[in-house]
Every structure is written in structure tokens, then in C-alpha cells.
Symmetry: C2
Subunit: 487 residues, 2 copies
């Protein structure tokens, strides 16, 4: 290459080292390998011991056959092509309430222009609708000015990290195991991840005394801890926090002056009767704490829930407790990217305001919604039982979210074999599982785990008719793996 020496060549030694440090296992090496295998399957059928790749690495329901909610897509199609609303035979193609809702949404958009940049926080009328939905959910008021519509939850999380992290001396308390968006975002913004451990023995319980210990430990090392991340329902761990536990977390953040970053994207995904989702805002307000008592950011996404609209990239954050001056800075950062996509904004408003009793679509909407959620609950149970039936595997219940995070008590020989190929033992396991069965899971090391323990994260999302076959492939693989490595 005959480039002059004035600028260093762009190489991994000269790019931003924060980028190098960032890791994102959910789309990491195992997934790249799976994509190569998928191409192999397409070009030479029968060359592998399976005939399809099953992506259980990522919460991406529609990629595995889940159908979108009809009402949402009807409204979206009408908003994308409003000329349809003027056609004569439109009633035969769309439900009456979808037509009404699309008209109402278009009326909320200045100039009915779904192709225009909106206000940088999102279209005001849609934020009003979302605030109304939050108020109904929580029983406490919500304010459209506190809503920032985002392209999924991830950009919102990045924005908060960007605002809070000044240097590596600023720390963010994160659960371990955690969803690696958090570790990746903290690394990209140059901060320090301060871990607190969820207790696997008590169903991934969150002990506030442990959080406090970790906080003090970080402070003693000169770290200014600025925020606490809580993922509820848990990812990858699937637990749903009890109200008492949430109260302690609120109290703790209030007393320590920490921003509570509440990842509540799985709020619709609760599968057990004895647990219920409560937003942290509801908990804080029910304790009598208002705006001035707690910095609180709640993240919501259209990618999860029963609708799983991942590809549409929509979501919001509800931001409360900050001064007007700081909020102006939030707005400024949002404005540099102009606005989130309008289709995602529209679906976010539908998620928070679905059809109601009496609407033409209500019955079919509820049937679709309940069908998906009850099927997810059955799939979670079936896969949980399957993992628990495997030699040396223990698996907590998925009370909520979309994942199981079984622990692999691996034989020493397997650990040694991993060491020999310079891989973590759970990475070896995940790689072997993929090569033998086409099932893609993410090694626990991508999420963090108590040192010396090994896990994988597996989504509960394959369609129900495929679950029995998946379970038998899994069992056969595991037996063979254990036969090979049993001490």
C-alpha cells in the first residue's frame, strides 16, 4: 500500500480502543459461525447433520415464525399509504377500528406527513397517547414531555450512558448476568461497569445488601457510581422482581443519588400467576416519591411483548426526576439524530393503546395476543423441563422475558478441552451444540456469570410444533457430549 505516512493507517491498532473493548455476544462469533453454516445448508443440502439453523440466540420472535399482530400492521399500512383511506372498497380489506385509528393518528401528525421528521422526542400526539397508556398501566399520571421515542430501546440506553459517563472513573451498577447492550454501551462510552450479582440459588434474586457492598467497593476504588441498571423481567435470567424488592431498589437509588435505569422491555412477558409486572415508576410513586426524589428512566420497546416488532425499531424512554437544564441536554442529543422512525413511533403508540373492549378488532386482537403469550408460557415450561432433565444441568424458571439461562455443571474434562482450544467452556458447549444440532445459543460468558460457573442463554421462541424435535436434538447432543467428557 503506498499511502503516505502523515496519518497512521486505519487498523485495529489505530481505531478507538473503546470500540475494540466493546463485546456483544448476542451477535458474536457463534452467530457468525451459524450464518456460515446456513449458507452451507443452502449451497449443499444434506452436508450437515441437520437441515435448518434455529436461532435461539436472540429475542427475535418473527424470525422464528411468530406472526405480527394484525391490527398493528393494518394501522401501519394505512399510515404508510394514506391514499388507501380514500378508496371505496377499503372496508373489505381493513377492520373498521384500524381505519379509525389510522385516521386519528394521521390527524395527530402535522400535515398528516408520515414522511416528515417529527419533533426530536417524537410526534406530540403519539407521546400523549403513550403517556395515557402509562397512566392506565400504573395508576399514576404520566407526561408526554417526559417521553422520548427511540429506534428500539438500545439508542435510549446509549443516550443515557453518553450523558452520564465522563470517564472511566464513572461507574454504572449492572446486574451479572446482564444483557450485553449494557456492558457494550458502557465500554463504548468509556465508563466502568460495576457488577452486582444476581443469586441463582434464589431464582436470580437481587439482594440490595450485595448491591450496596459493590457500590461501596467501587467508591473505595475512586469510582463515582452514577446509575443502577435493573432489568425486570430479567434478561437473560427471566426472573420477575417482587414488589418488596423493587421498593428496596427505589429506596437505595434515592438514598445514594443514583439514576435508576429500569429496563422494562419485557413488561408484557410474564408467564407465572404468582408474579406481576410493576413499573418502577408505579413503585416509586406508590411509596410517595415524586419527581424531586428519584432520577428514573424507564425503557420500553416494541420488539418484545406479545407483538415482537423487532424490525420496526420502536420504543421509548420515560425520563423523570431531572432538572430542566439537564433535560435540555437530553433533547439536544436527541435532536442531533433528528427523530426516531415514524413507523416505530406509531407502533409504540399502539402497544401502549391496543384495541379496547367494543372495538371491532378487540376479540381477534385478544385472541392473537393471548395465543402468543400462552404459547410462550408453554414453550418456556417445556424447555425448562428439558434442560432440567439433562445430566449436570439446572435451570431456573422463566417467570418472564424470553429466555432460559441454564447452568451447565461441566465435567473437568470438558473444561480442559475448552482450555486446549482457548475457549470458555460454555463457548465450547455452544459451538458443539450448534455443529451437532443447528441450535444457536449464546454462551453465558457473553452475559457475565459468577466465576467458575457456566451457562448458556436460550430463547423460548421457536414455534411450538418444533419444540419436541428441538428437545430431542438437545438431549441427544447433551448425552453424547457428556459421554465424551464425563469424568
Amino acid at each position: 500500500m503506498d499511502r503516505a505516512a502523515a496519518a497512521p493507517p486505519v487498523s485495529i491498532d489505530t481505531i478507538n480502543p473503546k470500540v475494540l473493548k466493546c463485546q456483544y455476544a448476542v451477535r458474536g462469533a457463534i452467530v457468525s459461525h451459524a450464518q456460515r453454516l446456513q449458507q452451507e445448508l443452502q449451497t449443499s443440502q444434506g452436508s450437515l447433520p441437520f437441515d435448518e439453523i434455529l436461532y435461539c440466540n436472540i429475542g427475535n420472535p418473527q424470525s422464528l415464525g411468530q406472526q405480527p399482530i394484525t391490527f398493528f400492521r393494518e394501522v401501519l399500512a394505512l399510515c404508510d399509504h394514506p391514499a388507501l383511506l380514500g378508496k371505496s372498497n377499503i372496508d373489505a380489506l381493513f377492520s373498521k377500528d384500524a381505519i379509525g385509528r389510522a385516521q386519528k393518528i394521521l390527524d395527530l401528525i402535522p400535515g398528516r406527513a408520515t414522511g416528515a421528521y417529527s419533533h426530536s422526542q417524537g410526534i406530540k400526539g403519539l407521546r400523549d397517547a403513550i403517556a395515557a397508556g402509562i397512566a392506565i398501566r400504573d395508576g399514576f399520571p404520566a407526561n408526554a414531555d417526559d417521553i422520548f421515542l427511540t429506534d428500539g430501546a438500545s439508542p435510549g440506553v446509549h443516550m443515557m450512558m453518553q450523558l452520564l459517563i465522563r470517564s472511566e472513573n464513572d461507574g454504572i451498577l449492572c446486574p451479572i448476568p446482564q444483557y450485553p447492550l449494557y456492558s457494550a454501551s458502557i465500554a463504548l462510552h468509556g465508563g466502568s461497569l460495576v457488577p452486582y450479582y444476581l443469586d441463582e440459588a434464589t431464582g436470580w434474586g437481587l439482594e440490595i445488601s450485595d448491591v450496596k457492598k459493590q457500590l461501596e467497593d467501587a467508591q473505595s476504588k475512586g469510582i463515582t457510581v452514577r446509575a443502577l441498571v435493573v432489568i425486570n423481567p430479567g434478561n437473560p435470567t427471566g426472573q420477575v422482581l417482587a414488589e418488596e424488592n423493587q421498593k428496596k431498589i427505589v429506596e437505595f437509588c434515592k438514598n445514594e443519588g443514583l439514576v435508576l435505569l429500569a429496563d422494562e422491555v419485557y413488561q408484557e412477558n410474564v408467564y407465572v400467576d404468582n408474579k406481576k409486572f410493576n413499573s418502577f415508576k408505579k413503585i416509586a410513586r406508590s411509596m410517595g416519591y415524586g419527581e424531586e426524589d428519584l432520577y428514573l428512566v424507564s425503557f420500553q420497546s416494541i420488539s418484545k411483548g406479545y407483538h415482537g416488532e423487532c424490525g420496526k425499531r420502536g420504543g421509548y424512554m420515560e425520563v423523570t426526576g431531572f432538572s430542566a437544564e439537564v433535560r435540555e441536554q437530553f433533547y439536544k442529543v436527541a435532536s442531533v439524530n433528528l427523530c426516531s422512525n415514524i413507523s416505530g413511533q406509531i407502533i409504540a403508540s399502539l402497544v401502549m393503546n391496543p384495541p379496547k373492549v367494543g372495538d371491532e378488532s378487540y376479540k381477534s386482537f385478544i385472541a392473537e395476543k393471548n395465543g402468543i403469550l400462552s404459547s410462550l408460557a408453554r414453550r418456556a415450561k417445556a424447555l425448562e423441563d428439558a434442560f432440567n432433565s439433562l445430566e449436570g444441568v439446572t435451570c431456573n424458571k422463566a417467570e418472564g422475558a424470553m429466555y432460559l439461562f441454564p447452568r451447565l455443571h461441566l465435567p473437568q474434562k470438558a473444561i480442559d478441552a475448552a482450555k486446549a482450544v482457548i475457549a470458555a467452556p460454555d463457548t465450547l458447549y455452544a459451538r458443539r451444540l450448534l455443529d451437532a444440532t443447528g441450535i444457536v445459543v449464546v454462551p453465558g460468558s457473553g452475559f457475565g456469570q459468577v466465576p467458575g460457573t457456566w451457562h448458556v442463554r436460550c430463547t423460548i421462541l421457536p414455534q411450538e410444533d418444533k419444540i419436541p424435535a428441538i428437545i430431542s436434538r438437545l438431549k441427544a447432543f447433551h448425552e453424547a457430549f457428556m459421554d465424551e467428557f464425563r469424568d
Copy 2:
């Protein structure tokens, strides 16, 4: 507030100072003031000397009444709600080629799932279509693996800044005046903006000798300059670069080892017969330079052109010349945000592959496209003439893009009046213009300008029937302004 002292309160003194430093005038104080005035208009009609706010601050065509391209929206609606494709009377509602295109696009998407996360670079089949469109445009091959689909051009620019900037000792050469996304992104990522000046006297010409001088000046201060930003057609300046000029830029970046960041989002917006858009990739390849000779990133957006689909947030970057190792890092950063929105991806594929001769929609598509582009050319000329007719105002031609950037030769009294209210003189002018006429323009200080010169940026986007009234309001305001301040 009774928060404990452990963490500092979240205030503008304790948030990331890079955020504070970042400025984005396109949605800055003037625009916030305009939004307040708009609310005032809604609540008390007749309270202001105008009855609507005209947002000429931002290239947002559909917010000012431009209609979306019918074919694009037909395809989008069908992809949003594929169930429509199975209905019997669908031919009456959609053009035949829109139906065919939607079916083709759905076939390209694994599982036809427009609600699934895609590959982090975007759906492979859509990238193939975009690469084919680039190859037709340039006459040189393009590769789907080089395409990263993005939510508009802005996230792509941020990603490149994030990758290249390690500290304030890394510099990015930017034109002055520039689109403030660049200064904002460099500030957010903690780098140094190294300015080079466009020459207003020669129609905003780019002199490579000046760029070289600025580069050497920065190097002498210890700055490692890593990239050169070129915006062609220019924003806010509207010039279209000549081929000879582009060749010099390519040669310069090659010799200096700089990444050429080519903002080519206005590639469809050229309004003069004697100029033509050439992509920098075409220029480089026509000079015989291949992958190994030049780091080149081309940004494209669905928000501009004749379609102006700002709210859909789509675009791509074509990334060439980097090593496989570095490209893996690009992919990793893209994967942390999972993928760009699928609706935006679909429209990006349509923009790069519009209807062709013989397609049912071709004639109406071309009529819509040419109607918009020829109207934009007329509007540019009318507003340019209007600015040039004002006392003490000179305005270069908008050869391309969507803006005029007239220079205001302000009387000393006006400059003093601005100083008295601690504002830049062009900010005073823009504020007075807004208060008197409802026309929103952005002060030149938001883009950078030669010290001691003053400008405003005004889009050419108001609908044609409104232009005469805008011009008379502008003239009346300017006369009164000059009468008040004339020396």
C-alpha cells in the same frame, strides 16, 4: 432535595462535558422559539403578525407539503401488511409493479418477516439491490458486503466518528460552512474539528491548497488528522463539485492516508445543466484507484433527493478500502444496535432501484419525480433572486442540495444591537425575521463561517404557491430591518 451525597446530583456540571460542548443549530434556540410561537398561534389566533410558521430551517420536504412518491408508499404498505397480497381486489388499489416489487422484497427477507431484526448490515437481498443500483449509477461494481444500512445518514456518520476518534488529538477535516451533524458528532466523540474554508467568492469552491495548509497547521499542533469530510452537493452551501476538483480531493486523501467521508445524500438534487453529480467512488475508480488505494465511505439517505422520506429514517453507507479486521469492528458496532429499521431499508432499496421503463408505474413515477425536482429548481432560483434583490445581501446559486446560504452584509448598528443582547448578528437577524414573518431560518454561526461574515441558511422547500408571499414578507422585513439599523 434530600438525596445523599454519595453520588453527585445529575446537573449540567456533572454530565459528560462532551455533551455540553455539542451544538446543533438546525434544531436549536430559534427553532424552539418557533415551536412556542406555533403554540401561541394555535391557542390565540391573530395574536401574531402572521398566521403560520414556515419551517425553512431543516431539509424536511414532506413537513411543508411535498407528497411522498406513490410507488414507494405502495410497496411499503404491502410489505407492512403482507396479508393484503392474498386479497382478491388488491389490483384495484395498488399498481401491478408495486405488487410485484413487494412480493420480490418479501421473498428476499428470511421468512418474509418484516418484523424481525435483520442482519446487522441490513437484509442481504436489499443490499444486493442497492449494490446493483450503485453499479448502474457509477459504471463500476459495488458489493453488498460493503453496504451498511442505517436509520438515515446520521447514525452512519456517528459510527465512523466513534471508530476513528480516540481523543482530542485526533482531528477530522470539515468544510466551513458545514452541516452541524459533523461538528456535533466530533464534539460528542471528543475529537477535534479541523476546519477548511469554502470560498464564497468562487461559488463556495474547495481549494485543495487550503485544505493542505489546514492539515499541516493541525499536524504542527500535534493533531493526528484521520479523515476529510466532503459534502457534495454542499450543505448549507449548495455547490456541486466539478470532476477535476473531486480528483484532487481523492489524490489528496490517498496521499495523506485520510479516510474520505463523502456525504452524498443530495446526489439526486442537482438543479443546473452544467453540473452533474459524480460519486467519489466513481471518481476514484475512474482514476484507476481500487480498494487498496483509498479509505472511502459514501453516505446516502432516503431523507433527501426527490422523495424526501425523512420520517422513515433510512440510508446506507458504502464502506471501501478497509482491512477485514477493521470491517469486523464496523460490524460489531452495528450489531450492538441490532439493525436499522426495515421500512427504511426497503425504501433505501427502492431509491436505488426505482421503477424502470415498461413498468406500470414508470410514467407516473417519472412525472412525480420530475415534477418535484423541476419545482425545486424553480424555487431555488426564485429565492436566490429574492435574496440577491435585498439591500446588502449576496447569495450564491443553489446548484444542488436544498438550501440557500445568503451572506448578510449587516450595518454596524445591527452588529452593535446584537452585541448588546449577547447574540451573534445573524442570530439577531434570524430571530427578528421569525418574530416578524414566521419564517424560520438558521443563523450561519450554526454552520461556521469566515469570522466577521454573517449568513443564514434557508431551505428551498416551501411549496411553490407560497413562494411569492414568502418573498414579499422577506422583503418587507428586510427593508424594515435595514431602516432600523442602516448606518
